[in-house]
């Protein structure tokens, strides 16, 4: 008999007024009992709509079934067939618009907590499994992967398992891409990312850090070195700014800079070599996951007041529902329907305030969302000493500008076939934010996965 409770098992978490002062993980994870109880809420629908909502098509009912049977390792094996980063996805996927959004239980009540179960299974595996991974038999073909974020790691993982000799090139000193420089410790502990990367290395995947492809080596040189195919997963690295007065004042950060200082460089720790401003009042401009991350980091660094300034209304916030809820619980103040006009200096040319204008929603624009329009004469000043711009990023031009024949969109995204990741250059595949512009971890993983299949077919076809 299934568990017919209309509510998900609640996620055990650190209390809001405790966690907003530390960088430890917010959610603590289900116990075995909670996981089994939650798994029993699954009705095992024949057509399994949840699977259709998953960008990598994990066999969700099958893994949940294993959880019910308390065969947690078995559940992990089901997930691992499709996903190489389950401990990551269980934490950062926007489940409400994917698997859980399609769950039949969600029609009346809350959907099955698929994300929380995935996380439970992955964590269980990581703390219980002692089996050394089996190195696949090498097939003698070399593939280069540029970027060690979600798309690159997924692509590399799938290819290594097929026997390819894979080298991942990372520009920074640490592998993981946005998983280490962007997403904060309290949402995705870095030890988990490191574990996934160590797992890949154990399978024989090479990871070379400090390699800025396009500068130290070009894609053409990678081919000359014997790589038969190249996957570009270089992400959407360049921060956007609003081009409003005062944006270059001291105390204005891009979210990338702020988060990189905090996460990658560990500026939140006492005695870190990398400095960060410990502001008292912070405005974060934007409404996505990155904005929530920046706001919550600022709070944890000791800010008394942290605002999210977003030009649309609450329903349009692009962030995961859970991140918005968590941010609110932690005391982040939402200034919705509100857009910055200029950033004001204080007498020392530091940020002294941010002037905003109130907005109202008009007709839908090309994105389908109602266009925000400024209300004349509604300008007001928020008293802040730090502003963080989290209004999106665009692809890094370093590879495009050094690779002849690689076609890109006007805005910089690499043009790649949606099903295969194939680009305009033979043997070169691309996926993730470098193709789509800023999106989610799981979409990037899906693209890395498809590209791995296509690269395998390309190399096998060439050599048959």
């Amino acid at each position: 008999m299934p568990n017919m409770s209309l509510k998900k098992n609640e996620m055990p978490s650190q209390a809001p007024d405790v966690r907003n002062k530390n960088f430890l993980e917010v959610a603590l994870g289900y116990t075995e009992e909670q996981a089994v109880d939650e798994a029993n809420r699954c009705l095992h629908c024949k057509n399994a709509p949840c699977v259709g909502g998953c960008p990598v098509a994990i066999d969700i009912p099958a893994f949940i079934d294993k959880v019910k049977e308390r065969d947690f390792e078995g559940a992990y094996q089901v997930i691992a067939r499709q996903s190489s980063l389950p401990a990551v996805c269980g934490r950062v996927c926007p489940q409400e618009t994917q698997c859980e959004g399609k769950c039949v239980r969600g029609i009346k009540g809350e959907p099955v907590a698929i994300g929380r179960l995935e996380r439970f299974v992955a964590d269980w595996h990581n703390s219980h499994s002692t089996e050394a991974p089996q190195r696949p038999a090498p097939n003698g073909h070399k593939v280069a992967v540029i970027g060690s974020g979600p798309s690159g790691l997924t692509c590399a993982g799938d290819l290594v398992k097929k026997g390819y000799d894979v080298t991942v090139f990372e520009a920074l000193h640490l592998a993981g891409g946005v998983l280490v420089y962007g997403i904060p410790e309290f949402r995705l502990p870095k030890a988990i990312v490191q574990k996934e990367i160590d797992g890949l290395k154990a399978l024989g995947c090479k990871v070379e850090t400090n390699m800025v492809i396009g500068k130290v080596l070009s894609i053409d040189e990678l081919f000359e070195q014997g790589f038969e195919s190249v996957f570009i997963g270089s992400g959407a690295g360049l921060p956007r700014f609003m081009r409003i007065p005062g944006e270059n004042l001291k105390g204005v950060y891009s979210a990338n800079e702020f988060l990189t200082r905090v996460n990658l460089m560990k500026a939140y720790k006492e005695g870190a070599d990398t400095p960060i401003e410990r502001a008292k009042k912070v405005a974060v401009v934007g409404g996505g996951n990155v904005a929530m991350d920046a706001a919550r980091c600022a709070k944890r660094l000791g800010a008394e007041e942290v605002y999210i300034v977003y030009r649309r209304s609450e329903v349009e916030l692009p962030a995961r529902r859970e991140e918005v809820e968590h941010a609110k619980e932690e005391g982040i103040i939402f200034k919705l329907l509100c857009n910055p006009v200029q950033i004001l200096p204080d007498e020392n040319k530091l940020v002294g305030g941010i002037e905003c204008v109130e907005m109202e929603l008009g007709e839908p624009d090309e994105s389908g969302r109602r266009r925000p329009v400024a209300k004349e004469g509604s300008e007001f000043v928020l008293d802040v000493d730090c502003v963080i711009m989290a209004i999106g990023t665009s692809p890094n031009p370093l590879i495009k500008s050094t690779t002849a024949g690689l076609e890109t969109q006007k805005w910089g995204g690499i043009i790649a076939d949606e099903e295969t990741g194939r680009t305009s250059r033979e043997g070169v595949y691309a996926g993730g934010d470098a193709v789509t512009g800023a999106a989610t971890v799981i979409l990037a993983m899906g693209a890395g996965k498809k590209a791995a299949t296509a690269i395998d077919q390309y190399i096998q076809g060439k050599n048959s």
Binding site: N248, K250, E257, T260, M265, A272, D273, P397, L398
Partner: protein
């Protein structure tokens, strides 16, 4: 890990190191920079490439001890290793088609000006170098500059070496005496570059400056190195570090560079105390 092949003290606050980094050495060009980390806990700091040897596979850096990281770096000896060394980053300096150039270096900025003077000299251009220091103890690369310059003027604040005065005084004299330059290349403290640019603007001589703002990743990701050039926001790491000196908003750049000054000062003192304790 990247081994320190050679270490040389140029003056009490400036050190030259040759680093084993074959891939970077293969591609490096004058005007480009690298980012390094001293140890696993260290911050990332950008330093301009001072020289490179493609055959030996080494890259030379010259740095002034200003903060905790350069203090730590200076405590490393030959044979020891840097944790990280990434590059070459940024766009190389443009030297094509230049026949006569005034190269202006200030303090440790001379370390960056030198490879450009050398490249210009090698391509057959006439090079007039004007280098400025606070005093004679701080003079660096004098022989190197002499070897690649058709004319070398050394300026010191107190006249203890060369002539007393600022680099702008010497440059102004050269221009007034009828020297006609295709371009002036100025590399040094922001204030020096600001005043060189202001001077040459009067004479309508194209001037290139090398900006060295605060940055983290060096690949365009953080935007911390942004500056205003001709009214537009540019990223020094990918759009530069060379920019048209007549278009750079120096006052803004000077402000931005002071962002972490107090932190730097404190961090350096703490690091020095740490080293002092080790010695005891």
């Amino acid at each position: 890990m990247y081994k320190i092949v050679k270490k040389e003290v140029l003056n009490p606050t400036v050190t030259r190191m040759e680093i084993d980094a074959p891939l970077v050495a293969k591609k490096a060009q004058p005007g480009q920079f690298i980012i390094l980390r001293v140890d696993d806990e260290g911050e990332r700091i950008p330093l301009t490439v001072a020289d490179y040897d493609r055959e030996k596979g080494t890259v030379t850096i010259i740095f002034q001890i200003v903060g905790a990281t350069t203090e730590k770096l200076n405590h490393l000896e030959e044979g020891e290793c840097l944790q990280d060394f990434v590059g070459p980053l940024g766009t190389p300096s443009h030297t094509d088609g230049l026949h006569k150039v005034a190269v202006i270096g200030g303090g440790v900025g001379c370390a960056i000006a030198y490879p450009i003077a050398k490249k210009l000299h090698q391509q057959g251009a006439t090079v007039h170098s004007v280098v400025g220091f606070r005093n004679t103890d701080l003079v660096i690369l004098q022989e190197e500059f002499e070897a690649v310059s058709d004319k070398l003027v050394i300026m010191t604040d107190d006249g203890s070496s060369g002539r007393k005065g600022l680099v702008t005084d010497a440059l102004k004299e050269l221009i007034e005496s009828g020297e006609q330059y295709d371009e002036v290349i100025a590399i040094g403290p922001l204030v020096m570059m600001k005043f060189v640019s202001a001077l040459t603007k009067n004479y309508g001589i194209k001037t290139v400056v090398s900006m060295n703002p605060i940055m983290i990743d060096g690949t365009g990701m953080c935007g911390g190195c942004r500056l205003t050039v001709g009214g537009e926001t540019k990223f020094a790491c990918v759009d530069g570090p060379d920019f048209d000196g007549h278009l750079v908003d120096f006052d803004e750049a000077i402000e931005r560079s002071s962002m972490y000054r107090d932190f730097e000062k404190q961090a350096r003192e703490e690091t020095c105390n740490l080293f002092a304790k080790e010695v005891q």
